[in-house]
């Protein structure tokens, strides 16, 4: 086997980035002329293993065990390490979600393997993995070269297009046993308070509409208008730190260096000046639209399209326009 991809699932549902990584890994495996395997861990997750085949895996190692019902890094790491030792992949890839990042780091450290965290691109150089990652908060890029094997990387959501599922694809599901962690089960999940259903996650969003301090004259109305536009476009709502610090909107919406890093197809910044720390979180969006009263606002220097105007007028006009078009 050449490449092993860890597929992250929560309550039996795969994180979309898992398939993005698997899709890219398929391409790399083809270039290497090797096989692609996926690892699916959890309890009652057989359906996810089948899905992994439809998204490109040749083999899926399915570890379905009650001890893996809730993610805990120790037992997950012990199990993934055992799979790596048994099958010796050259490359092991993880989605760079909170759990995927922990798991990849623990596994790589235990195996004394090189790990490139939070990569934005993967390539092969002379048949070896070379992983591109933003550093210095997105102001520089570096290509990580690995010493020894396996080469490991965690990959940012939306770095690669989601592959199309091919239900006709065939592959092998191999059941493997869960491995108890050497140090025992040191961690116990006591509770989980889920985010409201139906909320689009910022890191997976294709479209994000964000608001900043520009909503100050009526923050509640401002973010209501921004949410209406986001909802109309099927997107997520973001914010600048100034808006979060002023208490207009909770921190989980913050985009930027001390918030989330996002990479949507479309980012609409409303009343956001474009401070460097904000750009660190959204600068690699495909298309950026800026709506700002001030024609000199720095956000216009990274935007593809700009509207100089009052967001309280422009945003509802956009919502009305898209409602018309999208029906």
């Amino acid at each position: 086997m050449s490449i092993l991809v860890y597929v992250e699932q929560f309550e039996g549902k795969a994180a979309p980035v898992s398939w993005e990584v698997l899709g890219k890994a398929r391409e790399l495996a083809n270039q290497m002329g090797g096989k692609l395997a996926a690892a699916v861990l959890g309890s009652g997750v057989e359906a996810v293993a089948k899905e992994a085949i439809s998204f490109g895996a040749d083999t899926v190692y399915l570890v379905d065990d009650p001890s893996l019902a809730a993610f805990r890094v120790d037992p997950y790491a012990a199990t993934v390490e055992a799979l790596i030792k048994a099958h010796s992949p050259k490359v092991v890839l993880f989605p760079a979600t909170a759990r995927g990042r922990d798991l990849s780091a623990v596994v790589a450290c235990d195996l004394n393997a090189g790990l490139a965290a939070d990569c934005s691109d993967l390539t092969l150089v002379n048949g070896e993995l070379a992983a591109v990652r933003p550093v210095f908060s997105g102001n520089l890029l570096t290509t990580i070269r690995f010493v020894g094997s396996p080469a490991m990387a965690s990959v940012r959501p939306r770095s690669f297009p989601a592959p199309a599922a091919d239900p006709a694809r065939t592959g092998e599901v191999v059941r493997s046993a869960a491995v108890a962690p050497a140090g025992g089960y040191r961690e116990e999940v006591k509770g989980f308070e889920k985010t409201a259903a139906g909320e689009v996650s910022l890191t997976d969003a294709k479209i994000i509409v964000s608001g900043g301090r520009g909503v100050a004259k009526d923050p509640a109305l401002g973010f209501k208008l921004i949410k209406e536009l986001a909802d109309t476009l099927g997107g997520a709502m973001g914010a600048s730190r100034a808006a979060v610090d002023a208490g207009y909107i909770p921190y989980k919406h913050q985009v930027g260096q001390t918030g989330k890093t996002v990479r949507p197809d479309l980012y609409i910044a409303c009343g956001i000046s474009g401070a460097i720390q904000h750009l660190a979180g959204m600068g690699s969006s495909k298309i950026i639209v800026a709506i700002n009263k001030d024609p000199e606002a720095p956000i216009f220097s990274v935007a593809n399209y700009g509207i100089v105007g009052d967001l309280f007028e422009v945003v509802p006009a956009l919502t009305a326009e898209f409602k018309k078009r999208l029906g």
Partner: protein, 264 residues
């Protein structure tokens, strides 16, 4: 109870765009250097835990002599003890090397209950030191921590913010905890603290003090090497400003353009 905070000295975020690839590679950064912003939360949390549970707080960094300024920043906020970890052999360590150095130093420092780190460094951006440290210390790993609920009976209970929601988890001590921004509001260095920091004598521990082998640390041990450090490609396009006679017409024009771009 004993707490250790691991901090890094990093460039001021406002000056990050000015840093060249050559500076990043050599480590000879001309920008203003500060306490990594994420580590302010770790320092604050250590001080809050000391208020709640008593005990000692030690701050440590792996870095050159100039990194004592980051330790002094922590002292100015109220931390009592600091150690600089510096040796020519440490240069070029990757996350696992840095974690090995910190783990050895933490062991030398004495028994520890909780090690605190920031979520990530604004230069390395990897968030790997905390997991590495947990493994090298044989401690439990708790990342994305937004609240430390309790520490008692050899266990720590925390809340973690994950993509799907907020998890409450208990784990055995010792634990390595990497904290998120929501956990607290960092205090500023106090006037008295700054005076204390100015006078503080900070010990430097070297490779030989830590009983590490040179093969465990430094560039030669690094499994992940930075190559081809470069500026990302500039955003291709010049901004197109849209201004029609009415706001409705402007909205319609933008909608046309975005639909032509196929992003909607």
């Amino acid at each position: 109870m004993n707490f250790v905070v691991c901090v890094k000295q990093t460039p001021d975020t406002a000056e990050l765009p000015k840093i060249s690839a050559a500076e990043a590679v050599s480590g000879d950064i001309k920008a203003t250097l500060v306490l990594n912003p994420w580590d302010e939360f770790a320092v604050e949390e250590a001080l809050l835990l000391q208020d709640r549970f008593g005990g000692d707080v030690t701050v440590m960094t792996v870095g050159p002599q100039r990194a004592t300024e980051a330790l002094k920043d922590a002292i100015a906020r109220g931390v009592q003890k600091a150690v600089l970890l510096d040796d020519p052999a440490f240069a070029g360590s990757d996350a696992w090397g840095t974690a090995a150095i910190l783990a050895a130093a933490i062991r030398k420092n004495g028994p520890v209950d909780v090690v605190l780190t920031g979520k990530m460094s604004v230069d390395g951006n990897s968030g790997l030191v905390a997991p590495g440290l947990a493994r090298k210390l044989g401690a439990t790993l708790l990342t994305q921590v937004v609240k430390i609920v309790d520490i008692s009976g050899g266990r720590i209970t925390v809340e973690r913010q994950l993509e799907e929601g907020r998890e409450t988890v208990t784990a055995t001590l010792p634990a390595v905890v990497s904290v998120s921004k929501e956990i607290n509001e960092p205090r500023y260095p106090s006037f008295m603290g700054i005076r204390k920091a100015a006078k503080a004598v900070i010990p430097t521990w070297k490779l030989s003090d830590l009983g590490l082998s040179p093969s465990e640390v430094g560039a030669a041990a690094a499994k992940a090497q930075w190559t081809d450090v470069r500026k990302p490609p500039a955003r291709a396009s010049q901004v197109v400003m849209i201004k029609e006679a009415t706001v409705e017409a402007t909205a319609a024009k933008l909608a046309d353009l975005l639909m032509a771009e196929k992003v909607i």
